[in-house]
Symmetry: C2
Subunit: 312 residues, 2 copies
């Protein structure tokens, strides 16, 4: 059994990753938490294994890695921010690069044989109406995406120069229970749950014509586990269902699952200034490794809606 460290360990994705690892019999799981959160994962992870620290604090990160000596690191921690001000985004940029540097240095110093799965994002790619493979043109157009791209390049340099066993995952959109508000599916499902209760009248929506590639978070974390096992050193793997779906279709599916008719109203304020016209994964590389998404979109949406009915 491996000793596993998950950074960003109390977030939405980590909660599903911990669940999946637990089902595989993994018990020696450590998490890092930026804030005191993660009620869900406390079901599966001993409280003493939840380490609260800021990975941008170099000494704290060095100390943690030295103490835990993980065999595997799922590196999910990053500040996320797309819609905020340039100033806040610049802070995100600096923090995300600092934490990446610190983690890589800590690995080099204390656990150079550790396998690292670095979780990047498909947002680093330039806009395109074609499905994106790992060789697609890169064009981060905000400081958050830039911070993730810089993390990737730093990880690759580290892999090449220091022979670190690092693999890079670039997930496309993923959805599921426990995703925080601020993401479209969570927002809509929560609003529908409120409408069903009579606490809200209508559902305000933004741009419905964008095309995205939605993967169930449970399929996503299976890809991460697969990459930890079989990903090749220094390689990048895009992860997504491969199916482009109009946001309108997500809305229609959610409304069809609602227990009462949903009044949808257009809200111009919800349209982001720069919305990618399309963001769809060419998933051939990860499929070749043996991954395949198992969850149907409608069933995933039904589960998410049920989650919000129970957790508002």
């Amino acid at each position: 059994m491996a000793r596993i460290l998950i950074t960003g360990g109390t977030g939405f994705v980590a909660s599903h990753l911990v669940e999946a690892l637990h089902k595989r019999g993994e018990e020696d799981i450590h998490l890092t938490a930026y804030r005191d959160e993660g009620e869900f994962v406390k079901q599966f992870v001993k409280t003493k294994n939840i380490h609260q620290l800021n990975l941008a604090d170099k000494q704290a990160t060095l100390d943690l890695i030295q103490k835990i000596q993980p065999d595997q690191i799922y590196h999910l921690a990053s500040l996320a921010s797309v819609g905020d001000s340039f100033e806040k985004q610049s802070f995100v940029l600096e923090m995300n690069i600092a934490l990446q540097v610190n983690l890589l240095e800590a690995i080099k110093l204390h656990v150079p044989k550790t396998k690292l799965l670095h979780i990047s994002t498909a947002l680093i790619y330039a806009k395109s109406n074609q499905p994106l493979n790992e060789l697609a043109t890169v064009g981060p157009d905000n400081p958050y995406a830039l911070s993730k791209f810089t993390q990737d390049l730093l990880t690759q340099i580290f892999s090449q120069k220091e022979n670190l066993q690092a693999v890079i995952a670039r997930p496309f959109n993923h959805i599921g229970e426990r995703q925080t508000l601020g993401f479209v599916v969570a927002d809509w499902a929560a609003a529908i749950a409120r409408i069903e209760r009579g606490e809200q009248e209508s559902l305000p929506v933004g741009n419905l014509s964008s095309v995205r590639d939605f993967t169930d978070v449970k399929d996503m974390v299976q890809a991460y586990i697969l990459l930890m096992e079989k990903g090749l050193q220094g390689e990048i793997y895009n992860i997504g269902s491969g199916q482009g779906v109009k946001i309108q279709e997500i809305l229609d599916l959610l409304c069809s699952l609602a227990q009462k008719p949903i009044e949808v109203i257009a809200d111009p304020q919800k349209i982001r200034p720069i919305d990618l016209p399309s963001l769809v994964c060419d998933n051939e590389k990860i499929m070749t490794l043996g991954w395949q998404p198992k969850h149907q979109l409608k069933a995933t949406l039904a589960r998410i809606l049920e989650y919000w009915r129970e957790n508002l």
Copy 2:
């Protein structure tokens, strides 16, 4: 007459830039200095216009830009490091990104109409045996090059999102008087000057087969001045002579200029672990703007050798 700010204002390149601007009648020139240096530029710039600060200090940078209100900024400041440890290079990465963020935010806040020439580097490109134009594949393979690439992308985001008048220059190797030791031409010229004086016996050299594109720093700063005037917003311009020269040829030329025979000896320690096989500029874009290098390599080398004879 424009108010001009040069960051990294007391370095090698800045000293030539100040001289060239001065010859054009520019007198309202401000410099930033990281350390107390820049004896040469004090000939041309009032001492009160030399501002000592660390641009990675956000408040100091905001205060400076607010106070000076420059019309034009030549942004040369960055920590440079290629040969050092990974740890030191990571510090360079974080510092260079922080200072870029701070400068861009200061411009946005206090002088949004300022024209910014951001000085990047050709080192961000992936290895290639073809001359490199602005669309060449990028592949920063050390944290310094990565920091410069991240600076570029951040500058482009800022140019697009905040409509900053920013232009990006990617210089290839450039040489001239006052370049610090640690660069091959300066090292060899200084060594030859010492051999001429009888203070050194022989000239130790590393890899001589690499091909580089050497531009006289005086031609380089003319390109910067041209880009400040005519460069298009958000655009990248590679700058170099366009001529690939074997390092062996530089050595032969310098030895031919020496006042006594030079004994050259091979020093395996001077061979960098990763030496680009070739790094040559495709300069069509900057040539189209009206730039052309005016100095012949041999004359430049003779000037550099003369500099070291007088300044050892």
